[in-house]
Each structure stands twice: as structure tokens, then as C-alpha cells.
Amino acid sequence: MERLDGPPLTARRAGLVACTQCTRVQRPAKNCERCAAPLHAREYMGLQRVWAWLTVGLLLYIPANTYPMLLTSTLGSTSASTILGGVVELVQYGSYFIALIVFVASVAIPVMKFAVIAYLALSLKQMVPISAHQRLVLFEVVEFIGRWSMIDVFVVAILSALVQLGFVATVNPGPAAACFALSVVFTMLSAQSFDPRLIWDASEETPEK
């Protein structure tokens, strides 16, 4: 790639708009001339969606942790386990590695995601100590790993489909599965609504050394 001369010349500064779907650079219009996707120089309205989706995702994460994820019945006795309860059970079985995977996917990633998205959104208005580069890395991490939280929902789906041995053993999904899946979907939507180009606009006004 060849950088154009002068201060950072962005598409917006040149009076142009880049399509986020097909990458075509063009003059401002309502829709992309190539793929017909809606064109925005910046997703300013997106920031409101970021907060809206994030709030719903965070609210749903509470019942996802308090309600049972799995209802297990063996020989007539039924037990319910929450997300954290399932991790503890795995540790007791000695499956430390799998316990770690489930803990990271269902607890560490979601909590980190809420914090990072909120931080990034706030950083557009407030001065923050970390550079635009580092914030972009944070955004890409969240965007990349957010979907992996869905692992636990799939685990519940497979166990419930497979362990159906009548009186001997049955596993059924608990209400937390739906709350958790929705929480993951809403935080994914929140991350997708965030326009990373906004990070750089602020840093151009106060140039980095």
C-alpha cells in the first residue's frame, strides 16, 4: 500500500466514504454504488446502539448465572447446576483443562467483553491513557472472541440431546441456557455496532507522538 502524503488523509477528510461491507471508496451517497449497503462516513448513531445492546446483554447475564443451566436427574434424584456450579463440578472430577475452557468461555470472556466495550465507548468522549492502536487491538480481541462464549450453550444442547436414558439418567436444559445465549448475541450486536474508525478521529485531534 502506498500512503498518501500529508497528515493522515482519511476517506472522510477527503470528502469520500468507504463502504464497510465491500470496501469501495466513493462519493457520499445513501447506499453503496457497488453492494447497495447503507453508507456512513461514521456510525455516530451506532454508539447509542452499542450502549443499548450492551445494557440488555449485561441484564441477561444476571439470570444466566443465577438460574440453572443444566437439570440432571439420575435414578430419580434431580440436581440443577449453574454456570459456575458446572465449572466447580469439572474441577472436582479433575478435568482442570475443560473446567478452564468453560470458565474462560462462560465467565471470563463475557465479563471482559462488557468491560472492554464500555471502556471503548467511554474512551471516545474522555481522555484515556492508552493509545488508539491499543484500543483497536482491544476492539479486535472482543470482536474475535465474543462468539466463543456460545460454547456452553452448545454443550448443554449436546448433553440434553444425548443423555436421555429415561429413569437411569436424563439431562435437560435449564432457563439459564436461553438467557446466556441471548446475552452473548446482544453483546455481539453491541460490538458490531461499534465503529472503530471513531477511535482514530479523536486521536487525530490530539496527535500521538
Binding site: L4, T10, A14, G15, L16, Q21, C22, R34, L162, P196
Partner: protein
């Protein structure tokens, strides 16, 4: 500061803006297998691969065939104390079959089977005419855009990791035998991941619009 009139139509075609930081670059030819990155944030902008279009089509068709097989054959079989139960992929998708959890079944089925299938099918639809040097099919731009948009929502690779976690959870309690569908689905996931390495939006969109 530049003015909007700085670039004429031909110069516009040459420009590429970074999707992450909006910095404008003048595009130039990038060798197959190499990556052209944004000068400011290092986001990959152009990453052409040799024979990308025929490979994407071939891999996508393979995915569709494997998926049909994965749906048809038994996925996992469970044996415990003389009892046995076998589950297909669709059983796993429809495991949430009580009350409020029913919509979740639809979502799980979409994430693991439907969206990956729609994604590769729209890639095939958009790209096959280019392979035979024909003009693009109607709505091919929509198809390519759809394939791009669905990328984060097609979760076949996450599902297969979920299967492994589930197997470890019950391996002490019961014998679980993976069926043919399990292997078909695993291979499909590997091919899907491989397929994504050939996806360069810049190259695909230019190929699609070059013949307009």
C-alpha cells in the same frame, strides 16, 4: 485538507480505505500469498491468494456435501449400563424443546447448520458465474454481502469444540461413540476455516464488479 474534487473517477477506483481507521491508500498489486496492510493500524487490506475463486467454490461445495452427510448419519451414540441412545445433529439442535427454550432450538440450529450452509451457498451463487467468465448472476452482490455479514454468526467451529467439552464431561459416566456424522462435521469445520483464508474482500469484490 483536501477537497472532494481531488480524485476523479479513475483515481477513486484506485483508492482503498482502511475499514478500521479510514486512512486512504492508493492500492497497488499485491503478490498472491502476500498481505497489504494499513500503514497506520496494520489491518490487512488486500490479501490475494492464487486461484482463490475456484478454491472457494470447491471448498464451499465440499462443505455442503459434508453437511448433508452430517445431518443424515448418527452423530453420537451413548451407552451406559445396558441403555443406549443415539443423537443426530438435528437432535442436538432441537434439544431445547420445553416451553420458553423452544426459540433457542431455532437459534442453535441456525448457528451450527443453517447459517454456515447459507454462507457457503451464497458464495457459490455469487462466484460460479465468474469461474465460467459469465456476467455475475442477479443479486450476486447481495449474496456476497450476505456471506460477509453472516461470518460471525456461523458457529460450526464453536459447536464442535462444544461437542468435545460435552464428551469430556460425560466420559466417566458413559461410553460415547462418535458416529460418521461427527467425523463429517469435523472435516467440514476444518474446510470452513481453510475457506476463510481465501477470502479477500478486496479481490472478491473487484472480481465481481470487473465484468459489469
Amino acid at each position: 485538507m483536501s477537497t472532494p474534487t481531488q480524485f476523479d473517477d479513475a483515481a477513486l477506483r484506485d483508492l482503498i480505505a482502511c475499514p478500521r481507521c479510514d486512512l486512504l491508500h492508493r492500492s497497488h498489486r499485491v503478490a498472491d500469498g502476500c498481505v497489504g496492510r494499513c500503514k497506520r493500524c496494520h489491518t490487512p487490506l488486500i490479501m490475494p491468494r492464487a486461484q482463490a475463486i475456484p478454491r472457494i467454490i470447491a471448498l464451499s461445495l465440499t462443505v455442503l456435501i459434508l453437511l448433508v452427510g452430517a445431518l443424515y448419519f448418527p452423530f453420537l451414540e451413548l451407552n451406559a449400563g445396558g441403555f443406549s441412545n443415539s443423537a443426530s445433529l438435528l437432535d442436538a439442535a432441537t434439544a431445547f424443546n420445553h416451553g420458553l427454550l423452544i426459540p433457542l432450538s431455532g437459534a442453535v440450529a441456525a448457528f451450527m447448520v443453517l447459517l454456515p450452509a447459507v454462507r457457503v451457498a451464497s458464495l457459490v451463487y455469487a462466484l460460479v458465474p465468474l469461474l465460467f467468465h459469465q456476467p455475475p448472476a442477479r443479486y450476486s452482490a447481495y449474496a456476497l454481502r450476505l456471506a460477509n455479514r453472516l461470518r460471525p454468526w456461523a458457529m460450526a467451529e464453536i459447536f464442535i469444540i462444544g461437542v468435545v467439552v460435552a464428551l469430556v464431561k460425560i466420559v466417566d459416566l458413559a461410553d460415547v461413540t462418535p458416529g460418521p456424522a461427527f467425523w463429517a462435521f469435523s472435516v467440514m469445520v476444518i474446510i470452513l476455516v481453510l475457506n476463510d483464508t481465501y477470502m479477500c474482500r478486496w479481490t472478491l469484490w473487484n472480481a465481481l464488479t470487473a465484468r459489469r
